[in-house]
């Protein structure tokens, strides 16, 4: 029997110091059928490039399943397995548990093996939320859950999810003559909710692939810190958001620069804004108006100036009245004007 181990060994994954230090090897390669300009495909590629070849990837149902794993032309170089729409948490947990049991009992050689389970916004923020939440409490298992958020159920015809932004035109929320804004709900704050609600989870982060090296380094940190971890990635989607595919990167940057998508990480309960978001929070750069972001997308083409103002007001509120700008909600009035310690 192998030497008893408390958990499976962790890999050493130092951050890439600049784009030129990123290895050339690819583990998500040709063969996929994603749309032109698909940021989620880039997220998959960067995610597994950051993890390296000793990795198992589990993918819940969504466009990254349907487009990437066509029989005979799978794009995955590392082992990959499908899991049900609501089961990214369970898939990561089960795979990590098997590795731990088999390594502890000497049935598999002991070595660091990365386990990454990914889900879309539908699987992650809607039906899979309870399984992800449960998985993040099982601290003895090492795995990462990555939510790739293109803000819709993009593989079934662009239906709205719990992460679709206010007012967006989807096939489940078309602008009509009686109701111009059918989708009146505000996007869930998934990363903040998971970071706040799972005190034993050591790492939660938001990323955007427009900032590729920073994104990969968050994946490397999540995989090497130990225990279950969570990353929420905002992925512009040319088909769902209705824009020219050449603008994908620009839209990711705009989401960050307009303050709609704050970049942050919560490492051992310490919250840190990073990248452009940090600059905004420190006053080194100004938030761009959300109009710049909204007008480039067909899904907001029905917005009036009032709608854009409302959207701007909600984002302003997030920055000006939240306990942590853009991250931790509830107006500072609730804390009687005290700032958090």
């Amino acid at each position: 029997m192998a030497e008893a181990i408390a958990t499976t060994p962790l890999p050493t994954l130092e951050p890439f110091k600049g784009v030129k230090k990123v290895p050339l090897g690819e583990y998500f390669t040709s063969g996929h059928r994603t749309c032109q300009g698909c940021e989620s495909a880039l997220v998959m590629r960067l995610m597994v490039k950051a993890a390296g070849p000793r990795t198992i990837v589990l993918g819940s149902t969504g466009c990254m399943y349907v487009a990437n794993t066509t029989y005979y032309s799978t794009s995955w170089v590392v082992p990959w397995m499908h899991t049900q729409l609501g089961s990214s948490g369970s898939a990561g947990l089960g795979t990590a548990a098997a590795l731990r049991a088999l390594m502890r009992k000497g049935k598999l050689p002991t070595e660091p093996i990365n386990v990454i389970a990914f889900c879309g916004d539908g699987g992650g923020a809607d039906m899979g939320l309870s399984a992800i939440s449960a998985a993040l409490t099982h601290t003895e298992y090492n795995f990462l859950i990555l939510l790739y958020d293109n803000e819709s159920y993009a593989n079934t015809d662009i239906q709205l999810s719990g992460l679709t932004p206010y007012g967006a035109h989807t096939t489940f929320s078309p602008p009509g003559t009686a109701k111009r804004i059918l989708h009146q709900r505000w996007k869930k704050n998934v990363a903040g909710m998971l970071a706040a609600g799972h005190p034993s989870c050591r790492y939660v982060a938001t990323v955007c692939a427009s900032y590729a090296v920073e994104m990969m380094n968050r994946v490397r940190k999540a995989l090497s810190i130990g225990g279950p971890t969570f990353i929420h990635s905002l992925d512009p989607c040319p088909k769902g958001w209705d824009y020219d595919p050449m603008l994908s990167h620009e839209l990711g940057e705009l989401a960050v620069e307009c303050g709609i998508w704050p970049l942050y990480e919560v490492e051992d309960h310490k919250l840190k804004l990073y990248g452009r978001t940090k600059g905004i929070a420190q006053g080194r750069s100004k938030r761009r108006p959300v109009r710049d972001y909204l007008v480039r997308q067909g899904r907001f083409a029905h917005f009036t100036d009032d709608d854009i103002d409302y959207f701007q007001a909600k984002v302003d509120e997030m920055w000006e009245r939240w306990i942590i700008p853009g991250v931790i909600p509830f107006a500072s009035e609730i804390t009687n004007g005290r700032s958090p310690d």
Partner: protein, 408 residues
């Protein structure tokens, strides 16, 4: 037991323990050295996990024991653990089993040899905790091996056989063990617990081979095949189910050789059928009142017997048809119901009617719905059913289905 001499370690012997059906399966988990177990509460199945938890807490069972947040997660966790090479166990009851249904659907399709216990329970609404077989029967068309046990001893033995058959490379299908809620899950009896050295002879380590999900074997599991390949894959699953018949027979033969306990025909048990004119057929703990009633009726000179079906999937069509053709009439007792089905009968009766269609002789078949939701099946109930089967045997007109013991 002459077979004992064949064991390589004759010094070790079985121990007798007073345990429940659920506890017997928990003990089987220990003997089988299961690697990953997931739990989520629902009566009456959850008792097995209470015993598993105790074994884990006391260091008797070395496994990853994960309390999940739903049945769906429970079954998905072990599904993935099995794909990564772990021997796994899980289970549920009633609507909990149904909550996991999506995961139950993909498990056989991915050729995952998960062994699960179903503590059979009525489906809500309205709430009822007692036994009914509709929960486990819901997976009958999905590619699960499906077996019903009658005693705690049979529960322990069948669990070991289940891992052996499910994990055989020729099969690689999940197996659900139907345990009647309360009557079996909660009732204690004397069980002979074999030493783990015997179990090791019987149950080889789980080897997933070229289907193992591991960086050394970078396969893509469950890619999109669409209309190009789905029919072929379904056919492969069916061929695995067909092969399971032979693998089952081999497992029971080996079981008898190593453990010295015989089950005769693996698929069903025959009770006092040699000279019987009519028989009743049923599954699970139904056998207790039926056997008592058969003994009483035999003393009065009635030639009645009982056939207790163990393996429902694969269904022993040939064997059952050959056996049942011997009798003048057959009564099938269902602890389940299939709404709107042929003859408005239960699932088992429908299956047996289908099995008899091509039989050399087709005895009249009377279907009974009895004991739903844990209602007791009494000796008078059995006598009433037997009388109706005897009338059918005599050529008298009877209805195709009767609800027995129901308030009018």
């Amino acid at each position: 037991m002459a077979k004992v001499a064949q064991r390589s370690e004759p010094a070790e012997t079985e121990r007798e323990e007073l345990i429940s059906g659920s506890e017997a399966i928990a003990v089987a988990c220990k003997l089988a050295d299961v690697d990953v177990i997931t739990a989520y509460p629902i009566r009456p199945y959850d008792t097995v996990m209470q015993y598993v938890a105790r074994l884990v807490a006391n260091g008797e069972l070395d496994c990853e024991y994960i309390v999940a947040e739903s049945e769906h997660s429970q079954f998905e966790i072990v599904k993935h653990a099995s794909a990564a090479g772990a021997r796994v166990f899980c289970g549920s009851s009633g609507v909990g089993w149904m909550y996991a249904f999506e995961a139950l659907t993909v498990t056989p399709a991915l050729r995952i040899p998960l062994v699960a216990m179903v503590g059979n329970r009525a489906l809500d609404d309205p709430g009822a905790f007692g036994v009914e077989h509709n929960d486990a029967l819901a997976v009958r068309d999905l590619g699960w091996l499906l077996v019903w046990v009658d005693t705690a001893q049979e529960a322990l033995d069948t669990a070991l056989i289940a891992w052996r058959v499910a994990e055989d490379r020729r099969v690689f299908l999940p197996c659900a063990i139907g345990c009647d809620g309360a009557f079996l899950t909660h009732s204690q009896s004397i069980v002979r617990v074999p030493p783990s050295s015997w179990v090791r002879q019987f149950l080889p380590p789980y080897n997933r081979g070229d289907l193992l999900l591991h960086p050394d074997n970078p396969i893509t599991v469950a890619p999109q095949v669409n209309e190009d390949w789905l029919m072929e894959l379904r056919k492969h699953n069916d061929e695995a189910m067909t092969r399971a018949r032979q693998v089952l027979r081999e497992a029971y033969t080996d079981f008898e050789r190593i453990f010295g306990r015989t089950y005769g025909n693996p698929f069903f048990e025959e009770y006092q059928t040699e000279d019987a004119e009519v028989v009743l057929v049923g599954m699970g703990t139904l056998s207790m009142p039926v056997k008592v009633a058969v003994r009483q009726m035999r003393q009065q000179g009635l030639q009645v017997g009982f056939v207790r079906l163990r393996w429902f999937r694969p269904f022993p069509t040939q064997e059952l048809a050959a056996t049942l053709s011997r009798f003048r009439a057959v009564g099938v007792i269902d602890r389940d119901y299939s709404f709107g089905s042929p003859h408005s009968s239960g699932v088992l009766a429908n299956e047996i009617r289908a099995a008899l269609y091509s039989a050399p002789a087709r005895p009249p078949l009377v279907a009974f719905i009895c004991g739903l939701g844990g209602r007791e099946v009494t000796v008078p109930n059995v006598r009433e059913m037997t009388e109706l089967v005897r009338r059918a045997a005599a050529g008298e007109p009877v209805e195709s289905t009767y609800w027995i013991g129901i308030r009018q």
